[in-house]
């Protein structure tokens, strides 16, 4: 079954994304976080076996965190983007790493970069950053320029022109 068929069967509204360059259609749908696991399973059983990526978007004005689960089907040659929205101040969701193993890695990254909590993933923690004490850096209210100036710009120069032998 193709993506449109599945969306119709599940009664989900979808929109088609604009594509120039590539040829395959891409569908985007907003789904209920409660039902996401079943929907992904449904897609997986219908040929969408390639999990492309899990992305996170911080919508600071709306107060949302959007998680985008991106699936691709080698049989139908279609992309599906399933979005869920979580509250921004305490984003929390369940881990879906049992569906596709690489979701685990994406969850680790999103946990570190956006501060989203994934229940059931025991590998969350320090992944890319080290000794990080500020807020998760990919959040929109984190000012990277200010941070860099404060942290690295304030380090004093070591006296130059040292000793000659």
């Amino acid at each position: 079954m193709n993506a449109v068929g599945i969306f119709k069967e599940l009664g989900i509204e979808y929109e088609e994304m604009k594509v120039k360059g590539n040829k395959d259609p891409r569908y985007r749908a907003k789904v209920d976080p409660e039902k996401l696991e079943d929907i992904i399973l449904k897609f997986k059983n219908n040929g969408f076996r390639h999990f492309v990526a899990l992305s996170c978007v911080d919508w600071i004005k709306e107060g949302n965190m959007e998680l985008i689960y991106h699936l691709f089907s080698y049989d139908n040659l279609e992309d599906v983007f399933l979005s869920i929205y979580l509250p921004r101040d305490q984003p929390k969701y369940k881990s879906l790493r049992h569906l596709f193993p690489q979701i685990e890695t994406y969850e680790r990254e999103i946990h570190e970069m956006f501060g989203v909590e994934f229940e059931g993933n025991d590998r969350l923690g320090e992944f890319i950053l080290e000794d990080w004490e500020d807020m998760p850096p990919m959040r929109k209210d984190f000012d990277t320029e200010k941070y860099a100036k404060e942290k690295y710009g304030s380090v004093p120069l070591v006296e130059e022109g040292g000793e000659k032998e």
Binding site: K23, F100, Q102, T105, I128, M138
Partner: protein
């Protein structure tokens, strides 16, 4: 039996760049592996949100160092999707040409790195020397050896210089004449035959589910290539094959696929296909403008929306999810690098059971590129 911990990297000759594998070994056998990344993290996705649509073109090639052009192409395609631009035919052909040259040079680098891990040090001397001919072509075309910043939204930055195609043809002829030597040195070598087959096997039925893409997926027997399944640039007009296990042509089929042997032979055969594609481009490249007439680059109005573009890099599927809120800068860009799955999830799963000596060749045969994991 007591387990020992072994740290492979970040300062180590057996890692592809600046990353670390943390191995637990029992005698000579790896029991468990963990990948540690982050040594190259620069926060690209954050920096891109702070730069205008056009300034990002200069930033992004640095995400994947061995093959920077894919970043430019995929970002340009995503922006074109949002802007609803159809680029001229000539630009499509030039893009395909640049991407194929980049693939050739990345494969030469990958094969020489792999050969180093099984102790064949002559191969890097030859292949990287030959790779410089491609870098010279890039230098003539774009002015730089590594970061070209040549493909940008709307087309390519300038037209081909005079006599470029003739020089390209010469380089292709030269590279093709060298393939036989590479075969003698590596692909028909007893060491390669003895060490590579059935080492580092990805289970075939799991390959797609694990997110394996590119040559590593084709070595598992799936003829999937983004150039065919989601074609872009001039690829729909070009005739080429997808080398995959067990269709190895003149090469012997050793082992049962999904192993280091198949992955390297697939790369070797892909270089032949790249040359075939480039020859067709030389013949078929149309005349015309190389870029669209662009609006004022300082004030691009990119309509709000989501766009995903993907290309086939030498390592696998490379994609950008670009989100615009209608502003002067991208709202969010997510980079989907092929090494993200190969370097962390896949290698952690296939490493148990390998010898320590085979671990390096497995890591190199997956062609993991750490900067596109952590960006």
């Amino acid at each position: 039996m007591k387990e020992f911990e072994l740290f492979v990297g970040p300062q180590h000759v057996g890692v592809t760049g600046n990353m670390m594998y943390h191995l637990w070994v029992d005698g000579d056998t790896v029991v468990k592996a963990e990948t540690h990344v982050g040594y190259l993290h620069r926060g690209f996705e954050k920096l891109m949100e702070r730069r205008s649509w056009l300034m990002n073109v200069a930033l992004i090639p640095r995400i994947c160092v061995p093959e920077p052009d894919v970043n430019e192409a995929v970002y340009a395609m995503a922006v074109e999707s949002l802007m609803d631009w159809e680029i001229p035919e000539r630009a499509k052909y030039i893009r395909a040409m640049v991407l194929e040259l980049a693939r050739l040079s990345a494969h030469l680098l990958a094969i020489s790195g792999y050969a180093g891990t099984i102790g064949l040090y002559t191969i890097p001397q030859w292949l990287i020397g030959d790779r410089d001919y491609i870098l010279d072509l890039f230098e003539q075309l774009t002015g730089a050896r590594v970061y070209h910043i040549y493909i940008f939204p709307g087309g390519v930055r300038w037209d081909l210089p005079n006599g470029f195609l003739r020089k390209l043809e010469k380089v292709l002829n030269y590279l093709e004449s060298r393939f036989k030597l590479y075969d003698d040195l590596l692909f028909q070598n007893k060491i390669f035959f003895d060490r590579a087959p059935d080492v580092g096997v990805i289970p075939k039925e799991k390959a797609i589910e694990w997110g394996v893409t590119g040559p590593n997926l084709r070595a598992c027997g799936y003829a999937y290539d983004v150039r065919k399944v989601d074609p872009y640039a001039a690829y729909p007009d070009l005739d080429f094959e997808i080398p995959h296990y067990p269709k190895f042509g003149d090469f012997e089929v050793l082992g049962h696929g999904c192993d280091c042997y198949s992955r390297m032979v697939v790369r070797r055969l892909e270089m032949e296909q790249s040359i075939r594609i480039l020859r067709q481009i030389i013949k078929k490249i149309p005349d015309g403008p190389h870029t669209l007439k662009l609006p004022n680059p300082l004030a691009w109005k990119v309509p709000a929306g989501y766009a995903y573009a993907r290309v086939e890099s030498s390592k696998g599927e490379y994609g950008y999810l670009v989100i615009s809120d209608g502003g002067k800068m991208p709202y969010r860009v997510h980079v989907r690098g092929p090494s993200y799955t190969h370097g962390i999830n896949v290698i952690e799963k296939i490493a148990p059971g390998l010898n320590i000596a085979d671990f390096a060749q497995t890591a190199f045969s997956l062609d993991v590129c750490p900067p596109d994991i952590e960006r």
